[in-house]
């Protein structure tokens, strides 16, 4: 175990190269939030070109070097860098670090009553591998030819023949992958080994279950992408041909590679990771929403067991749906039938989880706190994202919708107003635990309502564009006649995006301001039951003064006859 005499440690050991899960969690959270902002800004720049193709970017356009913009007019080179890096940064450097690295690290050990993670030094290494990977990703913008520009999916042969930024992307990914692998092993071991006495698996808070399944997804899905990344790296630097078929003619010249490889192999390996990865993005979010709904309805979650089984079921099934991203690669009838069936089946547990959350509200005494607003908004937003996945999962409908804005709308509803809202909910909810202070309620409400409006302003029009057949990844959509009728929507979406950017200012002020000026609160300001609220705020090194003992399930709210409307998990047996 880690040293408990934290006060003796010098500053850099306590706050920078720390082995304390809370410090690492906060490091992950803040780094991840900054990357979310950075990835979002990339998109704000890109959206100018989509709304006003070929027009110079006002005010800041002339600040960019000529390799990116000429006279403020964006070049396709830069457009495709922005697109590829937006996706990569949001998924791998933003959402996963915040959801798993941030909340998982900070909250999970507290919720299971552990003094720290099972492997504190490994935990520190996870963060720093992530940090190095992130630095490599950002550095790639400054190499000749700029950052990766073959989409976040990096399909070869295009990515194999791309400029050196793609090599940086692959090396950066290798660091991110190893970071996630170390993290997942640590999470699994911690949840199995370090639960407080009495905290059986069926008394685990739903958030811990979500993190548990997520860790298995990371552990099992990332190694194939690691292999694929090394193979693509070898294709690029050692001129192997894992993904290069024979007889390629690039730029009019016969390629000198030996050939014999398959471009589709990459897609299989990539999506074998990237589909479970979607659930890595969504399961921790569901976990956060579950905690907040139970606390803010003042009643137990309805169907706790159904939720847990659904999450496990999703986890298992998520490994056999990957090829629904590849229906149009020449897939035969049998394979397409298999992946359509699995895709339809995986929609059922998602329906169960959403239904269970809504039914959890029934009979509650609902407090519309800021975390609850975000958690409640998650429900319909994830609902839209989930439902619009169904037409894409039917291979036949996918013929028209594949690679259109419909796809973009679908997964952004899942991840942006879905997961991101849950992550915001988590920040507002656990902020008092991490700092001992509350975030401003007023600024939080402004942040919520503006974000809700503009999120939908960005993503709802995407379904209309997708149905009209507008393809994604077009530097200038006006080149095609079939894109022209819906082009005005691009203006609506871009303006919504810029306003969404402004709407984050209250959050940024609130987050940093409340660290110093927020209202001081006691250890359990939300009157919640789970173990993290019995620790001091902020919890000291080692978390609990004495090891907590657990006597009941996670959500004993409004027990009839009890003195208070909540009974902490660690309150002694028979406590009322």
């Amino acid at each position: 175990m880690s040293e408990h005499a934290s006060h003796d440690l010098p500053f850099w050991r306590k706050y920078i190269f720390s082995t304390d899960h809370k410090v690492i969690g906060i490091q992950y959270l803040i780094t991840g939030l900054l990357f979310l902002l950075f990835g979002f800004i990339l998109m704000l720049i890109l959206r100018w070109q989509l709304a006003y193709p070929g027009q110079p970017l006002p005010f800041i356009g002339h600040l960019f070097p000529e390799s990116q913009m000429i006279g403020g007019i964006m070049l396709p080179e830069f457009y495709y860098q922005l697109g590829a890096m937006h996706g990569t940064i949001m998924v791998f450097l933003g959402v996963v670090p915040v959801a798993v690295g941030g909340f998982g690290n900070f909250v999970m050990p507290l919720q299971i009553g552990a003094p720290d993670m099972a492997f504190p030094k490994l935990n520190m290494m996870s963060y720093w591998l992530y940090f190095i990977g992130a630095v490599i990703m950002i550095a790639s913008f400054f190499v000749p030819g700029g950052a990766a520009q073959s989409g976040w999916t990096s399909y070869p042969p295009l990515s194999n023949i791309a400029s050196v930024g793609q090599t940086f992307w692959l090396v950066g990914m290798a660091f991110m992958i190893n970071s996630s692998l170390l993290g997942s092993i640590n999470f699994i071991t911690t949840i199995i080994q370090l639960r407080a006495p009495g905290l059986t698996f069926n008394r685990l808070p739903f958030f811990v279950w979500a993190q548990f399944v997520t860790s298995f997804l990371l552990l099992l899905a990332f190694p194939p992408l690691m292999a694929a990344s090394v193979m693509q790296l070898m294709d690029r630097v050692a001129h192997t041909s894992f993904f290069m078929p024979t007889g390629l003619v690039v730029n009019g010249a016969l390629s000198s590679v030996s050939g014999g490889g398959s471009p589709l192999l990459w897609q299989h390996l990539f999506w074998f990771l990237a589909h479970p990865e979607v659930y890595v993005l969504i399961l921790p979010a569901m976990g956060i929403v579950g905690e907040i709904i139970a606390c803010n309805t003042r009643k137990p979650l309805y169907g706790y067991k159904a939720l847990v089984y659904s999450v496990i079921y999703i986890g298992v099934l998520s490994f056999v749906v990957w090829a629904h991203h590849m229906f149009l690669t020449g897939m035969g009838t049998t394979m397409s039938a298999f992946f359509q069936v699995t895709t339809m089946i995986i929609s059922i547990p998602s329906v169960v989880i959403l239904t269970t959350f809504v039914l959890s509200l029934w009979g509650g005494s609902i407090r519309f706190s800021v975390p609850m607003l975000f958690a409640l908004a998650f429900l319909p937003m994830f609902g839209v994202g989930g439902l619009t996945g169904l037409p894409l999962g039917l291979a036949t409908a996918d013929i028209h919708l594949h690679d259109t804005y419909y796809v973009i709308g679908h997964f952004h509803y899942v991840v942006a107003p879905g997961t991101l809202f849950a992550l915001f909910a988590g920040v507002y909810y656990w902020f008092p635990k991490a700092t001992g202070r509350m975030m401003s309620d007023k600024l939080g409400r402004i942040h919520f309502f503006l974000s809700f409006i503009f999120m939908n302003g960005i993503f709802l029009p995407m379904f209309i564009m997708g149905l009209a057949g507008v393809s994604r990844r077009l530097y200038d959509p006006t080149q095609f006649a079939h894109n022209l009728s819906t082009q005005p929507l691009n203006v609506v979406m871009s303006i919504s995006a810029w306003l969404l950017g402004l709407s984050q200012i209250p959050f940024i002020i609130n987050f940093f301001g409340s660290i110093f000026r927020g209202k001081k609160v006691d250890n359990n300001p939300w009157k919640a039951t789970t173990l993290e609220w019995t620790a001091p705020s902020p919890p000291p090194h080692g978390n609990f003064a004495t090891e907590p003992h657990v006597h009941r399930g996670p959500y004993e709210y409004s027990v009839p006859g009890a003195k208070q409307d909540f009974i902490p998990q660690s309150a002694p047996e028979g406590a009322r």
Binding site: L158, V249, N251, Y302, L361, S365, L394, T396, H400, H402
Partner: protein
């Protein structure tokens, strides 16, 4: 062009597109029904159980039976949609290719950033092609020494087809992955280097349309546009004669 493309699905002039549009419409109607019903319930619950009106929560809520019915209903609906609507169209498009006698065969060879169209000519046999012979003047690498190649017609970014006749296109790519996208034909199929993928369709109306690339294929992806012209058989034959190699005339 306005008449072809609006805010809904693009115009459909294919014989199979009806099935695809129908599944999209059925799916969206069901999604709307489910979402609106669910959303109204959500708003009702939030209103009814707000803390001000309902200060004490109920610890033990009775078991709800209705959601199970909804979940089973969704599962059954999905099963029907798959079996009755999705699978048959996929089989129709992938396993019931038209015979070579009935169909007009073409090769579509994608490259950064153009569509090369290769018609076999009067003999119905594609001339031999070789990657080593590809150059700017001969982007398909057609071997002129091959007798079967003498009557082949090749075009760049111009695909003419006759109406009411099955077209069997063999898709391939020279450099990277592209995707052959005909919005009005409800056709989208990746063209993968090293593979030849058949795709077939039949137009039921004439007009001038577009070929678009739907898979990111490089910096010029956004302008990888071809013209897709559906002609009456007479007009198509006239166009074909005009484009045949000169020595035949």
């Amino acid at each position: 062009m306005e008449k072809y493309y609006g805010w809904g699905l693009p115009i459909d002039i294919s014989t199979h597109g009806y099935g695809i549009d129908r599944i999209i419409h059925i799916m969206h109607a069901a999604m709307a029904l489910l979402f609106i019903g669910w959303f109204v319930f959500l708003i009702y619950v939030l209103f009814r159980f707000r803390a001000r009106k309902h200060p004490v929560a109920i610890h033990d809520v009775k078991h709800f039976k209705f959601p199970t019915i909804v979940e089973v209903g969704v599962a059954v609906f999905e099963a029907i949609l798959l079996a009755a609507f999705s699978f048959p169209i996929w089989v129709h498009l992938h396993d019931q290719l038209p015979s070579k006698e009935k169909a007009l065969e073409v090769r579509v060879v994608a490259e950064q950033f153009a569509w090369n169209i290769h018609y076999p000519g009067r003999d119905g046999v594609f001339g031999r092609t070789d990657a080593k012979m590809m150059d700017a003047a001969n982007p398909l690498g057609l071997d002129k020494a091959d007798p079967a190649a003498a009557d082949d017609v090749t075009t760049i970014n111009q695909m003419h087809v006759p109406v009411d006749k099955p077209i069997l296109a063999h898709l391939s790519a020279k450099d990277v992955i592209h995707s052959f996208y005909l919005p009005v034909m409800r056709i989208k199929q990746d063209a993968v280097p090293g593979q030849s993928i058949p795709v077939w369709f039949q137009a039921k109306a004439t007009g001038d349309f577009e070929i678009a690339c739907a898979q990111l294929c490089g910096l010029g992806h956004y302008r990888m546009k071809g013209y897709f012209v559906v002609d009456t058989p007479d007009k198509f034959d006239a166009w074909f004669l005009e484009n045949e190699p000169k020595l035949l005339k």
